[in-house]
């Protein structure tokens, strides 16, 4: 296994009109690690994720995946790359006109050819991997609770056995018990399937339970990347406020 980082962001600049979100942002995600991204509201965490995913074109800088620059890839290379990604969006982004099973099968139908019976069994398997009960499979997204939608979204993200999983606020809006179960699930998937995971979150408990390293966005760039224990001793005022506040201390104690 090479020591080259799987995802590498170099000097990223993004702006909306005159509002600069990132200015010279650098980030490295190593193979097989769970990297968390934290930052204040509006600091550009989700924008960074969307830029890495190619949903927003960077206004400067370059993103490398496996050492290859994203901006210089052909459409075919890009499509091959996207098959190795699984994404769970903040609002789950399930297709509302399709049942959960059909949602999970969308990427499978699109990209590989399998006998229908096996395809259905694999959908069942993904649902099991995401920890969603069996009776949810024929339901429509509008009939699911928030936590079930997240799990269904995760099942769809796992459909093609991705190497990299991007999670945007995976535990936001979940009750603490579901959130803890979701954390455990992410950790377990990472260990069993050897996934690399990049997750954006506000949830301090998730950071503690799941992440190997945490990157902190502030002042339009990444100001620190480290394990939580070491970040807690960082002297930067924002990091101190974040991890040293009552919630941060409570999460650290547990």
């Amino acid at each position: 296994m090479s020591t080259r980082p799987l995802i590498e962001v170099r000097g990223l600049v993004t702006r909306f009109g005159s509002h600069v979100v990132h200015d010279g942002l650098d980030l490295e995600v190593r193979r097989g690690e769970v990297m968390g991204i934290v930052g204040g509201s509006g600091s550009g965490k989700s924008v960074l994720l969307h830029t890495i995913l190619g949903l927003k074109a960077p206004d400067g800088g370059e993103i490398f995946f496996d050492g290859r620059p994203l901006s210089r890839m052909t459409a075919a290379e890009r499509a091959a790359l996207e098959r190795r990604w699984g994404v769970l969006f903040q609002g789950s982004a399930l297709f509302s006109s399709l049942t959960v099973r059909e949602n999970i099968l969308v990427p499978i139908r699109e990209h590989v050819s399998l006998p229908p019976a096996l395809m259905d069994e694999i959908a069942d398997l993904k649902l099991g991997l995401a920890g969603l009960g069996t009776d949810a499979i024929n339901k429509y997204p509008s009939e699911l609770s928030g936590g079930m939608k997240k799990r269904a979204g995760l099942a769809r993200a796992l459909a093609l056995d991705p190497d990299v999983l991007f999670l945007d606020e995976p535990t936001a809006g979940l009750d603490p018990i579901s959130a803890a179960a979701f954390d455990e699930l992410i950790r377990e998937l990472c260990e069993t399937l050897g996934l690399t995971i990049l997750l954006v979150t506000h949830d301090l408990d998730t950071l503690h339970a799941v992440c190997d390293r945490v990157a902190v966005i502030a002042e339009k760039r990444i100001i620190a990347v480290d394990t939580i224990a070491r970040l807690a001793t960082n002297s930067h005022p924002w990091i101190q406020d974040y991890f040293g506040g009552p919630r941060g201390r409570a999460a650290l104690r547990s």
């Binding site: 499978i108 096996l118 069994e121 694999i122 398997l125 009776d135 024929n138 509008s142």
Partner: protein
């Protein structure tokens, strides 16, 4: 998991060696979701031909594997929900045995999709469900109509409770903003009627009756129908969409909790705006229609505008105008009620917003035409 490149995949193979009542499966190559499609049949044959207890799996020759591959390889070893017994999976592979066990533990067979067929029974079921749905809709709309009338009555008795600002604003969007398009459409309809009438009546040498034709048709039917159909397409759908999206964002719930009555705040202003503006728009539509007829008569029949107007006053009775105008507030009321009710019925998802908006426009136009026919029957019986 090692990085995958589609071009470097090794085709999966499955060898089965039988000895001493044991069947050992020896997979090789890459068992990934991209490649296993063709292996399903062979694995099913193995499952069919061998008893589960005799099967063993040797993973030493296996290449890469993912969860789908692990599922397919583990499937012959499945015995209900029991975990794969120790010793059934042998061979040296970094992840295979662990992955197969993990997948096995996590796999739950889900209930199949409900079969959809086209049998007679299915057809009758759909027919019945559809009929029931239509009756339910009609019943619900009547209920909504009653509720709105009660709220409207209460608001009118206590005018301080009326939302004047939003009512006036809605009058502008429903009425003033719709004026140009309704006038333009009506103008063209009037012109077309005059054209058709002129060319037809000329053959009888009775082309002067074009004035009667345009006058009666525009005043009695076209003016008010064009207005109602445009209102249904334009304002009714807007009512459904705006109330529906408020419903989706829980704004209606918020109103209820704060102590605002959504009927009073949302429905009553729309009903008043439609009922007041529909006759005014109809008047404008009538004028535009007559003007269209007048222009065409002038150009094609050499009927001067002053003669057109004199004849119109002499032969076309005021009752035609009154008949047309009498329908306008009724149409306005029906359109507002249907639009608001469908908006209130929107559920939590985007899909239902689209469905409700469609249903709203279809129902509104349907009701406009049906009520127009009822009016025609009524006035026919009353000799008006």
């Amino acid at each position: 998991m090692a990085a995958r490149h589609t071009d470097s995949l090794v085709q999966p193979r499955l060898a089965v060696s039988e000895a001493e009542g044991r069947a050992v499966l020896e997979p090789s190559g890459d068992w990934l979701i991209e490649t296993i499609g063709q292996m399903d049949r062979q694995v099913r044959a193995v499952e069919r031909d061998h008893s589960v207890k005799a099967l063993h799996l040797d993973v030493s020759g296996l290449g890469r594997i993912d969860t789908s591959g692990a599922y397919l390889l583990g499937r012959p070893l499945r015995q209900g929900d029991d975990p794969v017994p120790e010793g059934r999976i042998s061979g040296d592979h970094p992840v295979a045995a662990r992955l197969i066990r993990e997948v096995h533990a996590r796999m739950d067979h889900c209930p199949p999709e409900e079969a959809s067929g086209w049998g007679l029974r299915k057809m009758l079921t759909r027919l019945g469900a559809g009929t029931e749905h239509v009756l339910d809709e009609a019943w619900d709309t009547l209920g909504f109509f009653g509720h709105t009338l009660v709220t409207l009555g209460a608001s009118l008795l206590n005018p301080a409770r009326l939302r004047w600002t939003s009512t006036v604003h809605l009058m502008e969007t429903v009425g003033i903003n719709a004026l140009p398009i309704i006038a333009a459409l009506s103008f063209f309809i009037g012109a077309v009627v005059a054209f058709m009438g002129a060319s037809l009546l000329e053959t009888f040498g009775a082309s002067i009756f074009t004035v009667d034709l345009v006058g009666i048709s525009v005043l009695r039917e076209f003016g008010v129908l064009i207005t109602a159909i445009m209102l249904a397409g334009r304002s009714d759908s807007a009512f459904t969409a705006s109330i529906g999206s408020m419903k989706m964002q829980q704004e209606i719930d918020a109103m209820r909790v704060i102590g605002l009555d959504p009927y009073e705040v949302l429905v009553v202003p729309r009903v008043i705006a439609c009922v007041v503006m529909a006759p005014l728009l109809t008047l404008a539509a009538m004028l535009a229609g007559l003007f269209g007829g007048l222009l065409v008569s002038w150009v094609t029949l050499d009927v001067s505008p002053s003669f057109f107007l004199t004849r119109l006053q002499n032969v076309v009775d005021w009752t035609h105008f009154m008949v047309g105008m009498s329908k306008a507030p009724v149409f306005g009321l029906v359109i507002a009620i249907i639009g608001c009710r469908q908006g209130m019925k929107v559920g939590g998802d985007v899909e239902s917003l689209g469905q409700r908006t469609t249903a709203s426009v279809v129902q509104a136009i349907f009701m406009v035409i049906v009520i127009d026919a009822l009016f025609a029957l009524m006035y026919l019986e009353a000799d008006i």
